[in-house]
Amino acid sequence: MSRKKIIQITVIVIASIFISLEAAGYYLAHRAWAAEKREAEETSKGSGASGKKKSLEYRQKLGRLSPKGIHIIIDTAENRLYLRDGDKTIVNAVISTGSGSILTDPSGKREWIFDTPRGEYAIKSKVVDPSWIKPDWAFIEEGEDIPKNFQERVENGMLGKYALAFGNGYFIHGTLYKRLLGRNVTHGCVRVGDDDLETVFKQAPIGAKVIIF
């Protein structure tokens, strides 16, 4: 048998195997898909009116879970804060949220990740003219020694006119760095521009839901 002939036969055999496997794959996928779809349709038919009633019940339960009054939604990807009353958006503010950076204590014992926490929270307290009680990381980041005296931790004017605490030391507050609004630059808190912050502070009561994603 000539070399050319052998190559031809080899190519034909490989192509046949490939085509067969492809056909088998398509058939198997279609068969599985069709069987499961039929099964789903049958199940769907079987449930009838009782199923519709049950679905409606679930919808009503879901509806009852969503916040009804004033609540805050924070989009950390887009750096946006929405103050909403039910379905209506009252404020759509450009904000700054966590930088996601990591800081390690020079001793290596502690580490901070500056993310804005995600999930469901609530406004715990509201403060006018808040003072910033600088945590340890603020000194470490600036290469300063951590003070022993509490008064050395207190810094006024850094958090703007208002602050709303939503738990674990995180606040929605004002900022001196207005040109950084819209960027991820904070240590986890939510910075808001003056006008928007005032509206949020006045409208959102203690207990208002804060949903961060």
């Binding site: 195997i17 067969s20 996928a29 800081l103 600036e142």
Partner: protein, 223 residues
């Protein structure tokens, strides 16, 4: 070798299992809508963000407490293999070729800080400055979401233009040629196989990567 393969393929076509699954009697149970809502209700009771991936209406919703926080349009869907029962699934990992890395802050002495502030002030004049942070633009737009139940969702950015169309056509050919082979392999291994590929706008793909955290739950249904 050829005969063995042919035998295997014949066996796959005519296996009793093939007929069993087609002829199996379906018990009367809850409707798909009921299953979806029931699964969602369980997730909505928890104080976490969850996702609803509606392949039928080509929409991904980021939700909390039953409320849609953000909706993302799916531009294109490629679905292959076993259908996915409408239920909540847990994402265990996100995998990307170029995963974003967090910046590590180096503590600075006061002099260095002052120098940095000068630089920042200079940059602010042009209003173009880089910051030490993870932002939406740092997120990948091509990645895979891996679920605990063993299947994965491939996310790709939907781009316009001739080059992108060419790239997308190449991807489609690759997809439709490779999937049958993987299906045969999984059938031999007696494993269900499912592959989902979604095209989103580039920004939405990045936003979804940002929002999808390890351990996040998603109700997936359709198409």
């Amino acid at each position: 070798m050829i005969f063995r393969l042919a035998f295997l393929i014949t066996l796959l076509f005519f296996s009793p299992q093939a007929f069993a699954s087609a002829q199996a009697e379906t018990p009367e149970g809850p409707s798909i809508e009921e299953e979806i809502l029931k699964s969602e209700l369980e997730l909505a009771k928890k104080p976490n963000i969850y996702f609803v991936i509606n392949l039928k209406e080509m929409k991904i919703s980021i939700k909390a407490k039953g409320m849609a926080l953000k909706e993302i349009d799916i531009r294109e869907i490629k679905f292959w293999g076993n259908s996915l029962p409408a239920a909540a699934y847990k994402m265990v990992n996100k995998s990307a070729f170029a995963e974003p890395r967090r910046d590590v802050i180096t503590p600075q002495k006061e002099e260095e800080e002052a120098k940095k502030e000068d630089n920042t002030a200079a940059e602010s004049k042009t209003d173009k400055f880089d910051i030490q942070a993870l932002e939406l633009g740092d997120m990948p737009s091509s990645y895979t979401l891996l679920f605990e139940e063993g299947f994965s969702i491939i996310i790709r950015p939907h781009r316009e233009g001739f080059r992108s169309a060419l790239y997308s056509a190449g991807g489609a050919i690759g997809w439709y040629l490779s999937r049958p082979l993987v299906t045969v392999w999984n059938t031999i291994k007696k494993r269900p196989y499912l592959a989902i590929k979604l095209s989103l706008s580039e920004r939405d793909a990045r936003a979804l990567y940002w929002s999808f955290y390890d351990g996040a739950n998603a109700v997936i249904y359709g198409p």
